[in-house]
């Protein structure tokens, strides 16, 4: 996945879409104030500069699907494990709720079902049948909409055609009005997301920790350098 911070408007459509797609419970204001809110993707807000010259920056953060994920080795039951495709999967049925993975995760993108999940009416009528609801005591997190990835693969196979770049879109990518989120196959060097991941504007979150995250954040070095920004630089540098 690639996230273009220069495009993100902070509208949080991705957050809403993610909740709807993945059957994420809403915990209500009291529990949210206690720190029990669950947002597999969140939009972080950063204020930069001194008043009145202030700028607001948004940063959507979801599971970074690290190649060296700190959450994986610590899970005693393999609930957190790597798939053959390189996704960092969370197997809800195996989770016994030690919460060790969430402690080990440097990005705090894992969420625990502190109590039984509830969906305020009429949200309970629109649960997605493709995604299992998680019970109390289980850890959950962004899956890159693995149900959509699997459906896409099955449909392509049924049609007898190879998967094309951009065929599969997680809910957040699909709902992003500014096209700030790009999803695709990083193993394919020509895919849009691969090209963006090599962009000079690109960086990884907390890269220095060595977790090898798979999400690339694209950003001009500074907002003051707006005039020097060339949209085509990203493409030309891939050559």
């Amino acid at each position: 996945m690639a996230v273009d911070l220069d495009r993100c408007t902070g509208c949080e459509a991705c957050v809403v879409a993610c909740h709807a797609e993945n059957n994420i419970p809403t915990v209500g204001p009291t529990e949210a104030a206690r720190g029990r809110a669950m947002h597999w993707i969140r939009v972080e807000r950063y204020w930069e500069g001194e008043f009145p010259d202030v700028q607001l920056k948004f940063k959507p953060v979801m599971c970074q699907h690290c190649d060296e994920a700190p959450c994986e080795p610590v899970c005693p039951t393999y609930a957190s494990s790597h798939t053959s495709e390189g996704l960092n999967a969370q197997i809800y049925n195996r989770c016994i709720g030690t919460r060790y993975c969430a402690n080990a995760c440097s990005y705090n993108v894992r969420f625990f079902n502190f109590s039984s999940p509830v969906w305020d009416k009429p949200l309970h009528l629109q649960l997605n049948p493709d995604v299992s609801a998680r019970e109390m005591g289980v850890m959950e997190k962004c899956t890159f909409c693995i149900q959509r990835i699997n459906t896409g693969k099955i449909e392509a196979k049924a049609a007898g055609e190879p998967l094309k770049d951009g065929d599969i879109k997680p809910a957040c990518v699909q709902s992003c009005t500014a096209n700030a989120l790009v999803f695709g196959d990083l193993n394919d060097p020509d895919s849009h997301v691969s090209q963006l991941s090599r962009s000079p504007r690109g960086s990884k979150l907390l890269e220095e920790l060595g977790t090898k995250p798979k999400v690339t954040y694209l950003q001009r070095e500074s907002w003051d350098e707006r005039s020097e920004y060339e949209p085509d630089r990203a493409k030309s540098s891939t050559k």
Binding site: V74, T77, N108, N113, S115, S116, G137, L206, L209
Partner: protein, 450 residues
């Protein structure tokens, strides 16, 4: 051997086993009701979820894990101390070893409850057991929690053996001195002990092997408990010093618990003639050594982090030195170092009361130490947007209080099962040859011959 002293020893030390006062029943009722409250609270937490506690995102570990490390730490009292004292053949150990071994066994049982209590789905805890599962489910051996499972089980088995082995002659003594149902129960417990030279010889070799084996086991257990933290990429957890730091802290808190328990036993069971000021002084000196060692580790840990000046670690560092957690941190330093140091260093001050005061401080301080390792790091992880905080709510506090009541209850009930001071070991100590050797040792220990 003098049959008169023999009988006096047996009478004095068997009295608590054979005769029960009204105070005992009141105490048992009190502690049982607290334990029941704790069990009910745990049931409530299982039914409604971890959400009833103060746990939150991102502080996923707090009181339960603090208590886990604390109780496993206390369990190092016993076995380790009694094993070391046996190996170096310190004669003053004789009245102390069993009290210590009992603490180990019970603290370990209570400590091992907390990993179950803290689980989101405790009914699935058996998934940590490597059994041939038709689902191909096997525990993840890379996880420190699985190491914990094996380490604690090994230590529990070893410390129970270490407690029961030297109890056989005493069980046989009770069997020989009682009638009726007691005789039947203790015949089974004493496993056919008749005190033949062969049996004594075997007991001696077995105890020697156990004493040697249990030291590496005890060290590994608390090292593995420290690995729960140091293996994770969390600021101020990911540290190479944690293994020895935790082991030192565990022995430190273990000695403190032992001193408190001994003082209580001395008062309640009228053992003034057996648990002497000398024992408290010697244990006080051991505790002083551990206090210095603990202070040395904390200084090392803090200095290297401060000097390294890595931003993520410095955030946690300052939150404990001057920030939100500073009051707790400096209370810990006060309890673990500032109070015990003068009380245990100055010979004139090192009385029973003083060692007990110092020990109470150390128990509080070491609990705070574990809390300060877990919570500040989790609330200030590298991702600064998601910083958080933690305030306990009543369920984890009730469960914690119940764990202390549980310890008291188990200890009380145990004092009815077995003499809390090993009778046969005291008798051996009364042997003229051993006694004269012991006198020299004790005098040396008291600093009279130096």
């Amino acid at each position: 051997m003098n049959p008169e002293t023999d009988n006096r020893l047996a009478d004095d030390l068997l009295r608590p086993v054979l005769h029960t006062s009204r105070g005992f029943y009141i105490a048992v009722a009190l502690f049982s009701s607290i334990v029941l409250c704790g069990a009910a609270t745990w049931g409530y937490q299982i039914y409604y979820g971890i959400g009833v506690t103060g746990y939150n995102w991102p502080v996923f570990w707090a009181f339960h894990e603090t208590n886990f490390v604390f109780w496993i730490g206390i369990s190092h009292a016993g076995t380790l101390i009694s094993a070391i004292l046996r190996i170096v053949n310190a004669t003053w150990r004789r009245p102390v070893t069993r009290c210590a071994e009992v603490i180990t066994a019970f603290a370990l049982m209570i400590g091992a409850m907390f990993p179950l209590i803290h689980l989101g789905r405790p009914w699935l805890a058996w998934w940590l057991i490597p059994y041939p599962s038709e689902r191909g489910l096997w525990p993840n051996y890379r996880s420190p929690l699985v190491w914990d499972f094996f380490a604690i089980n090994t230590y529990l088995t070893a410390s129970l053996l270490f407690l029961i082995l030297p109890a056989l002659p005493d069980f046989a003594l009770i069997r020989d001195r009682t009638t009726g149902w007691r005789k039947r129960v203790y015949s089974i417990l004493s496993m056919g002990w008749h005190g033949t030279p062969k049996q004594w010889h075997r007991l001696e070799s077995a105890m020697h092997i156990m004493a040697l084996a249990i030291i590496p086991i005890a060290v590994s257990v608390h090292t593995i408990v420290s690995f729960d933290f140091s293996m994770a990429l969390v600021p101020m957890w990911h540290s190479t010093i944690f293994g020895p730091y935790f082991v030192a802290g565990a022995i430190f808190s273990g000695i403190a618990a032992l001193i408190i328990v001994m003082a209580l036993l001395r008062k309640l069971l009228h053992l003034e003639a057996y648990l002497l000021p000398l024992h408290f002084q010697n244990l006080g000196k051991l505790m002083l050594t551990m206090s210095l060692l603990w202070g040395y580790f904390v200084f090392n840990e803090r200095l290297t982090i401060w000097y390294g000046n890595s931003p993520h670690e410095m955030t946690v560092f300052w939150s404990t030195q001057t920030g939100k957690y500073a009051p707790l941190f400096w209370t810990m330093v006060l309890c673990n170092f500032v109070i015990p140091f003068p009380l245990l260093t100055i010979k004139r001050l090192r009385s029973i009361t003083a060692t007990v005061i110092a020990s109470c401080g150390v128990v509080v301080g070491m609990w705070l130490e574990r809390f300060l390792i877990i919570v500040p790091s989790l609330s200030r992880k590298a991702a600064s947007f998601s910083w958080g905080s933690y305030t306990p709510r009543w369920p984890e506090i009730v469960i914690m209080v119940a764990s202390f009541a549980g310890m008291a209850l188990l200890y009380l009930l145990f004092s009815k099962l077995m003499p809390i001071i090993s009778i046969w070991e005291l008798k051996v100590g009364q042997h003229p040859q051993i006694k004269s050797a012991a006198k020299v040792q004790d005098a040396e220990a008291a600093g009279e011959l130096v």
